[in-house]
Amino acid sequence: MKLTPLTKGLLADALLIIAAVVAFYAFPYDLAFLTRIVIMAILVLSIDLILGLGGIVTLGQAALYGSGAYAAGLFAIHISGDPLLGLAVGMLAGAAIAFLSGLLLMRAEGLTLIMLSIAVALVLQEIANRARDWTGGADGMRGIRMDPILGLWRFDFIGQTGYIYVCCVLFVVLFALKVLKASPLGLMARGIHESPARMRAIGAPVYQRRLILYTLGGAIAGIAGALAAQITQLVSLEVFNFSHSAEAVIMLILGGAGKLYGAIIGTVIFMVVHHLAASVDPFNWLFIIGALVLGVVFFVPQGLLGVPTALKRLIGGGK
């Protein structure tokens, strides 16, 4: 049976929704963990837009994620506890920081860009540390209280509302990215990825285009950060940690870059394996994650989403 890309996409969406619902009923006591996975998936999707689609390699997504988290936290404490407004504020903060840092970053490439993007997160972390009166510094930002979503759904302590909320945001982000990927802008991003020289030769100002992509990615990372702040009702300096950026990129590579669903699968597998391995052996779980990543990079460089194709090719049935 031959599936068109559209039916494949719809099928994947249906599976994703079913998986989310099944997880909700199957693991009622792990909703906090499931919620973390979903938030992480949104962060990884933001990297898929920048790296997977646009080919812009950075290791500083935590800067954008953390900005979204602090902005949403400040907004909740000082202005309004409305979750959706807070989400919008986090999104704008992520986009703004991406734009401002991008003015410099998007002129760089390769190792320089990677180092600069890491540096931005470090600088922001230090700023958050110094601005103790606003951010709580190393103690973290406390006192975030969220109103019910749309005035209807109160956040409960088991995390049911929270889980459903982040899942809805994930679906909206995924849908938006699917539309974007198929749009002229998405094609343009792939062009930038494939050949900046050719893009310039067809009249595309590559620097501006990279800046636009980075800003969009920042908006999505900001959403992820805002969700984290709203759900945990706490923002600490850790949101700017390098490990966030690095692990998110690993999750993307694991699942398969540039395919959107790869970002989600990679996140789920990484975090579940991490969770299980850490509970089996709290000291050596990194070995298991490392082996998994090595295996994927060596045997299916396209990521786990590429496994079916690779198997088909191995069996010799597909083309």
């Binding site: 002229p184 792939r190 062009g191 030769a201 067809i202 009249g203």
Partner: protein, 248 residues
Amino acid sequence: MKGLQTKGLNKSFGGLVVARDITLSLQPGDRTALIGPNGAGKTTFSNLITGILKPTSGQILLDGRDIGGMGEAARVRAGIAKTFQITTLFKHLSVRENIRLPILERERRALRFWHRADRDKGVEAEIEAQLSAFNLLGLADRPVQDLAYGQQRLVEMAMTLALKPRVLILDEPAAGVPSSDSHLITGAIEALPADLAVLIIEHDMKLVFQVARSIIVLVNGAILTQGTPPEIAANQQVRDLYLGAHHD
């Protein structure tokens, strides 16, 4: 003043001078060939015009306006387009997508994110026309990297023409194209809009004499001579040059 002018264009890489005081003019409708031995500086000259390289000194004018301060993309938008001597394509994108992108850029639609890229009837019809002009219809949905080099040259040409430029620079358009397909290149050049200014860099003299109405000979970065094809064919200096004996 219409068209493209260069005035006293110089370029050196360290001590190596690759463009010496190049002054020339390319008017709408011109079919000018730029010939010269390997390393003469032909590609460098084209890179100076398109903005890939900045000249050491000298001026570049489009319709009388100095475009020296404009970046590469801005010059393309102003109407100057070129094909690369070494094929430069979006390798993992399909042939169709490779042609769709320049059309979207030309139409200033590449930033639209709210609708599909492949649903505009006008754009798709234009892509079909380009594909059929270059005999690429059968390969339209294949990734460009699957194509033979000669076919990739045709894609290179098709996507550059899709920009509908006013000044077109073709850097060895036929190099690597099998002789069975070279008529597609020649045909495409002959079918170009009459008011387009065209500069063709080429080693294939058969093609040069077929399409050029004027020939410029570049040697060591400087213009040796310029004339009609018969004049150039009769020029002793040029004949010696192409037989390998240098008169300096």
